[in-house]
Structure formats: structure tokens, C-alpha cells
Subunit: 490 residues, 2 copies
């Protein structure tokens, strides 16, 4: 197989390295793919000179000694990579960090190679991918459609096979919606497992870096490296033992009541969701109907409640001084946080606390929840014509997840078979309490294989990739993978 | 012994009941004592008619079958007792609840009898006891001095022997400072162990009902009954196992650095604190010097940060409509919460989260912390002349405790032996992580006995009372005490 046809899923890369392909060749190929992009996925592809130190440090290293040896990845451009500008999608805001984000440093130490900083809805405010002065990010499968956001470029870069995986961030669904729209697995880890040090916050109290990958096995490999307690991040939490692993079944999964399901007119998506319920049943699951209304009420708090003030706090000095530098719908949303009072903030916190008490009762009845990731998808021109309302549709099933401290995995559930979006991938999300990431990934993997199909926008069949069989050591934080010194690249 | 001389510590009461004294007699005596009060401890003493149902339901009941059989208690007047007005220290705010607070219902079910609603710093905003239109509450030992607050009447009523114990509330020290100034044990339980349902909040996210008692054993008996998970209170938390019980020693206790200790010129208090350190060492403790500065920084957040907005949220409709009905210093403080922004609230939450990370490291080095409860005490006229500044002195060592989710017990540490406040009791606080309440109570009891002296303003020697030897069942929530129906009194 020629290098230009090499799949960047991690197993294929590892096989290539075993067969004598060099890191230099792979990273050059990844760079070529990124530079050829026409989807507005990338804000900045690293130069050959910038890449060289990351490549050189792997010279002579045994590929088997590092979990992510020579694996090319992309970084959402609100996460710091040392000596490369962080724009957060806003050129006037850009700064050049001297140190990489904590989570990036974990990946570098495991041998991964950063190739690009990716496009995003500015300041991670949006779920659709069009809110960027670097150009509306286009869907990897059909460029007339939105990519999803705010980790738009991260999703598209992975789906197009530019890189093996990408880091996103996820507050309201920003790591899951682009996974769904581009045929990927999107892991929204338990809050605090991945450090936020060196990540520009959107909603710091309910946000996490996220992982976009071609398969659940790849997402798990990245999680095993990326998750590490960070003393310097006050929101960092140590991994907890998984406990009961329900992923092999039998398990009980929650399904929203008929009246809580909303596909915004997309009948093909509704059909795929019905199929997904049956598929999970075929994997050993028992469907339990759940009342989604308290979850939907919690979801509303994220934008209608005080949490939008966190977005304002994050860039207060900048937006106060340069309001015109902020992309219009993003500015409207973030400036809305300025007028909220502390009384609003505490009243919102009380309301969330009460809703969480109600919502958490669901875990007495089910091991995990199944929802659409997003009910439907839109064309770029539709989204640009109605940017606030249509965006809010995309977050219906994702907005509550971090507020309620769930772990979640978005996974492909098939291809829309009719309607305007015919041929586009569509996905569901498996959610569970915090610290169930590994069980969710394994179940998502079983579901993904049972769904079948190709990875992202590639031609690689999911069934040809290795199954998600667990981390070395069994639990997050126990793998003790090798590390490589990254002194030059920070 | 005549009834008028009967000590109301729980062991003495139980002995009296075994010897044939009736509940009716004890409660009538408690009522007489309350009505004779000249300290402004009580806002409303229940009438004989109002008391009768609580007494009648105990007729024919075996005293040994109920943990708090016939035990008279008082209730801070921001906690609901069904059919009796709750004033929160503000007559214009008063309302008459139809149901008792959840925590009161637990006590009633265990046979305790509510005798009075007690005076408080209005809306539980204050640590000194003078901020009440019902009259400045006077110290039980020397009425020229402040009682401490905001649970002022609860402290004074117990210290004077009007009742066996009292419920207070504690956000900033409101349950501990009055214990210290009146020679009592003040348990500030782990947040969430005692339900806040039916309690008018001051700072809902960092507040708990508290227990004022003559001895640690009595506080423990009340805790064993009062602590119960409340599904309706979103901040309620189930009790957790105590784990290592350090109370019998050897143990390590933190002592603030010399430069962090501030007694506001009260040399007698400084001497008592030095004695307290030696006493804890004699009980098997090893003193470890700790840097109190991050704790003091956290303490400042409570009034200088956004949390004051919680006080505003709690009575927003009332204070907006009737600002002149609020006691002047209380109004100034609470209205200060109106102008805080949600951005302030989140910035404060981030700061606290970071400080908590730093402060929690202390638990790697020590099992518990020893601090003064309040550095000094003031005369009522001094406090009224400088009501904000002197009040803030009282909270130096107590304000950080709930923000950092500690459990804490205030315990007498001797009598001030010189200076203006000669002859007044003075106390220290033992603090530990959440859910260490039982260990703290046992250690506080050993300390109390080693200190010696009389209980509150009574003539009963601490050494004549039973030691604090643990709850039936060993842990909070495992005792399975009997209950009595309270249908009439709700």
C-alpha cells in the first residue's frame, strides 16, 4: 500500500511502522493531507521545521515502547501547543504560548506528533462549525453541510484521514456533534479526567477536552494517555475505578419517551434512532423508557441560565476592549453573560442541584442512556441564515450532559437514507454517570461494529479495525505506558 | 434534687425520668426557665397549650425506647416549627409554616420536645448576637458581653440551662462562635448531613443546621437523630463511614503559624490557645505547624466574594419591597449582594476551587486542625459602636470552614483569666475533612474533660457527665433508634 493510501487509524499506523515505514514519512504525509484540505478544517498546519523536533525525538525509538508512537494528531485551536499561536478562532485574540497544554504534553510524551491547529466555532461558542473568521468548516462527507462544532476542524480533519485523532473541547456538545456529523467516535470524558491547564475555557466549571477518533479503540488509546491528574488544574479529578462493566451485557439502557424525541423534521434520523434502539437490544440491552424532561430542563440552563457568564469571564478583558473583533453570533451570546447577576448565578446553581437530584435517579433504573447526538443536520447556508435558533436545535441532547456530570460517547449509527441530507452519517450518544468512560467506549465499539460502515469519510470498514478490548492495566491511570522526553517542544 | 435544680444535660434528664419525674414536669420547668430569661435569648416560648401535644404523645412511652425522650430543646428562629411563626429575627418577614423543618421532625420523632424559638442575628447575618430587633442577645455568663451569633439565643438558652440543646445554623461560624462565648460544645456538622428543608437559608450552598449542647456526648446524641438523608433537599448528602478514628490518638493536629494567629489584643485568649496546644499534645497529639494563609484567603471570599449574593437571593422579594424593615448592618451586608455579577460569582468559584486544592493538602500532614474559635470577645456596647469591623474579627477562624467543606466542633478551652473579659469562657475549634464529625466529637470530649470546668453558665462539672463513647451502631445513620408518631405536631 502506498503511503498516500495508508489509513491513519492507530492499528494501521502501528502495522506500517512495524513494516518499516518511518515517522518522518507518515508525518510528511499527514502534513500533505492537511495542506490539501478544502474544508476550512485547519487554522495552522505546522511547517516542516516546526514538525522536525517532534519527529526527531522518535528517531531510534522502538515503536512498541510508546502507546502513540508516531501518531499524527490535530489540536483544536483553543488548546495550547508551545510556540504556535492559539487563536481560539479569533485572530485579534491570538497569543503564542510558551508551554503546551497539560493534556497535549501527555500525548507528546506518549509519542504522538501534533500536525495542525484546527478551526472551531470562535471561543468554542457554537455547535455548528460556521462561526469562524477562518471560514465555515465544511462537512467531511458533503461540504454543503455543516461540520458540527465547536470542534469542527478537529472532526473534519480526523474524518478526512488527515490525522489519526484530534483533541476538541466539550461543554455543550462541542466534541460530540462534530463526531456525529462526520462519522466519528467522540469521547466526552468524565469532567476533570483530562486537565484543562493550557486550554482557553468556554465554561470552565462544566467543560473538558474531548477526543475525536475513527474508532472507539483509538479513542480509548488516546484516553489512556491523556487522562492524568493535574495538581495545577483545580477542576482536575483523579480517575476512579470503573466498577461494574456493563458493556458486554446484559445491561439496561434508557430511551427517551416518544414525546421527548425531536428530530426537527428529519424522518431519516428518526428511523436511524429506532434502529439504534433495536441494535442495542440485540447486543444484550434492555430498553427502559425514561422521562427526558428534567434533562431537557437542565439543558436549557446552559444558555438561558447563568453559565453563559463563564464564557464572558473567560475573555472579559478582550471582549470589553475589542467587541467588534468577535464574530457576530458569538459576541451576542458571550455579551449576554455580562448582564447576569450573582443572584442569577446562585439561583441557577440551586436549580441545577435540584434537577440533578431528579435526573440522577435514572441510574437506579439503567446502566446507560441512549439518545440522538443531534436530532438533525443543516446545510451551511441554512445555518448562516438562522444561526442562533438552528444551533440550539443541535444541542438538545448534548447540553445537559456536562451540567449533570455524565460521561458520554458519540458513535456512528448509520447513514441518513432519505431527505435533504441523504448519504450523511448520523450518530447516537451513549451516556452514563461520571467515570464510566471505559464501559461506554466498549459498548460504543460493539454498537459501531454492529452498525457497520466506513470510518469518517474514509473507505476503511469499521469491521476491519481492532476491537476496543480495554486499556493495559484495565483502568484509566494504571497503564504505565512509556514516555519520551519532549524538552524541545514543551 | 428539686426540679428547679435539675441539670438538663441529657444524662441527668434520663436519670430523672428513670426516677419517676414526668415529661410534663420537665417541660413545664423548661418553660419556666425560658420565660424568666433576661438575656433576650428567646423570641417565642411555646405556650402550655402549644406544648401539650408534644408532651401528650409521650404519655405511656418507655423513656428508654427513644433516644431523646422528653428532652427539651430550642430552635433558632430561622428554622420552621409547624404552626409557630418563623421570624428569622425580622417581625415584618414572619410567616407561619404548616410543617416543621425536616431536621426538627427527626428530633420530634426521637421524643425531643421543642420549647422555644430563639433570637438570632437577623437573617443569620452576623456572628455577634446584637443584630436583632428583639434585643441584643446577652452573654450567658456576663450579660455586658455579646453572646456571639448568629445562633445567639440558641447558645444562651443552652448555657443557662433553659433547654438541653438547641438547633442553630452555621455558614460563617454562627453555630460555633456562640458556643465559644457561652462555654458550650458547638457541632458544625459536615455539610448536607442535616437537611436544610424548612430552614430559611443565608448562604444555601455552604450552610448547615448546627447543634449547640452542654457536652460532646449530648451533641453526638442529637447528631445521631438529626442526621438523615433528605431526598427533597438537593444539598443533602448521605453520611459516609468515619474511616480512621483518630480521636484516641496518636494523632497529628495542625496549629497555625505564629504570624497567622491574631487575638486582637486579647492576651488571655492567646494564653488559653497556647494551653490548648499543650493539652492536645497531652492527649496523644503531635502538633504540626501549618500555613493558615490560604485558609484566611478563602475566609475572605465569604463576605468579599460573591457568596453574599446568596443572602440576597434568599430574601430578594422581601428586601426589595421592604428594605427599611431590615436591621441596618444586616441590610447593608445583604444589599451588597445585589450588585455582584454572575461573572463575579464564577470568578469567585474558580478562586475557591483553587484555594481548596491548596488547603486540602493539609490533610496529608494532619488528622485535624486546632484554631481559636474566635480570637476575642467584645462588650455589647463596643460591638454596637463598630458593628461591621468587630464582627469580621469574630469570623477569622470560622469563615473558611464551610467553604472548604470541613467538619468542625467548637469546644470550651478554659476561662479568660485577665483583661476586660475576665471570667468569660473561651473556646477552640477542632476541624477535619467532611464526615469526620464523630471523631471530632470524641476528641473534643477528651479535650473538654482535660480542660475541666462547668458546663455553660451552669454549676455542673464536665467531669460529672458521661463521656462521648460513640453512637449506637457506631456510625451516623446506623443507630436505628425508636420513633414516636408526631401527627399532631408535624
Amino acid at each position: 500500500m502506498s503511503l498516500s493510501q495508508l489509513s491513519f487509524d492507530i492499528a494501521s499506523l502501528q502495522a506500517a511502522y512495524r513494516n518499516g515505514v518511518t515517522v518522518r514519512e507518515v508525518i510528511a504525509e499527514a502534513r500533505r493531507r492537511c495542506l490539501a484540505d478544502t474544508h476550512h478544517a485547519h487554522i495552522r498546519v505546522l511547517s516542516t521545521d516546526e514538525l522536525e523536533p517532534f519527529v526527531a525525538r522518535l528517531d531510534g525509538v522502538d515503536p512498541a515502547s510508546l502507546a502513540l508512537f508516531g501518531v499524527p494528531f490535530a489540536i483544536k485551536d483553543n488548546i495550547d501547543l508551545a510556540h504556535i499561536p492559539t487563536t481560539a478562532g479569533c485572530p485579534d485574540f491570538a497569543f503564542t504560548p510558551v508551554e503546551s497544554a497539560f493534556v497535549v504534553r501527555q500525548l507528546l510524551a506518549a509519542g504522538a506528533v501534533p500536525v495542525s491547529k484546527t478551526n472551531l466555532d470562535q471561543f468554542a461558542t457554537g455547535l455548528n462549525g460556521t462561526r469562524s473568521p477562518f471560514g465555515a468548516c465544511r462537512n467531511a462527507i458533503n461540504p454543503d453541510f455543516i461540520s458540527g462544532g465547536s470542534s469542527s476542524g478537529s472532526g473534519v480533519a480526523v474524518a478526512l484521514g488527515h490525522v489519526s485523532f484530534a483533541l476538541g473541547t466539550d461543554t455543550a456538545g462541542s466534541g460530540r456533534v462534530p463526531a456525529s456529523f462526520n462519522g466519528l467516535v467522540g469521547l466526552k470524558p468524565t469532567l476533570g479526567l483530562l486537565s484543562a491547564s493550557g486550554v482557553l475555557p468556554a465554561c470552565r466549571s462544566v467543560e473538558t477536552p474531548s477526543i475525536l477518533a475513527l474508532t472507539a479503540a483509538d479513542a480509548q488509546a488516546v484516553l489512556g494517555v491523556a487522562a492524568a491528574f493535574d495538581e495545577a488544574d483545580a477542576y482536575s479529578r483523579p480517575a476512579q475505578p470503573l466498577g461494574v462493566d456493563f458493556s458486554d451485557g446484559p445491561f439496561r439502557f434508557g430511551v427517551p419517551r416518544e414525546e421527548d424525541l425531536e428530530f426537527f423534521g428529519n424522518g431519516a434520523a428518526a428511523a436511524l434512532f429506532a434502529d439504534a434502539v433495536k441494535r442495542l437490544e440485540s447486543l444484550g440491552g434492555t430498553a427502559v423508557t425514561i422521562d427526558l424532561s428534567p434533562f431537557l430542563e437542565a439543558a436549557k440552563l446552559l444558555y438561558e441560565g447563568p453559565w453563559v457568564a463563564e464564557r464572558y469571564v473567560a475573555i472579559q478583558a478582550f471582549i470589553d476592549a475589542h467587541p467588534q473583533a468577535v464574530f457576530p453570533p458569538v459576541r451576542t451570546i458571550i455579551e449576554g453573560g455580562r448582564s447576569k447577576s450573582a443572584a442569577d448565578a446562585f439561583a441557577g446553581a440551586y436549580r441545577l442541584k435540584a434537577l440533578r437530584r431528579v435526573c440522577d435517579r435514572v441510574w437506579d433504573a439503567v446502566d446507560c442512556m441512549l439518545t440522538p447526538t443531534a436530532g438533525t443536520i443543516y446545510r451551511i447556508e441554512e445555518m448562516e441564515a438562522d444561526p442562533i435558533r438552528l444551533n440550539s436545535h443541535l444541542g438538545r441532547y448534548t447540553n445537559f450532559v456536562n451540567l449533570l456530570d455524565h460521561s458520554a460517547v458519540a458513535v456512528p449509527a448509520g447513514v441518513l437514507a432519505s431527505g435533504d441530507a441523504d448519504g450523511l452519517p448520523w450518530g447516537v450518544t451513549l451516556g452514563a454517570p461520571a467515570h464510566k468512560d471505559l464501559a461506554l467506549l466498549r459498548l460504543a465499539d460493539r454498537f459501531h461494529r454492529a452498525t457497520g460502515g466506513t470510518l469518517g469519510a474514509t473507505t476503511v470498514d469499521v469491521e476491519s479495525t481492532p476491537a476496543c478490548t480495554g486499556l493495559p492495566g484495565g483502568e484509566i491511570g494504571t497503564s504505565g505506558t512509556g514516555t519520551v522526553r519532549v524538552a524541545v517542544c514543551g
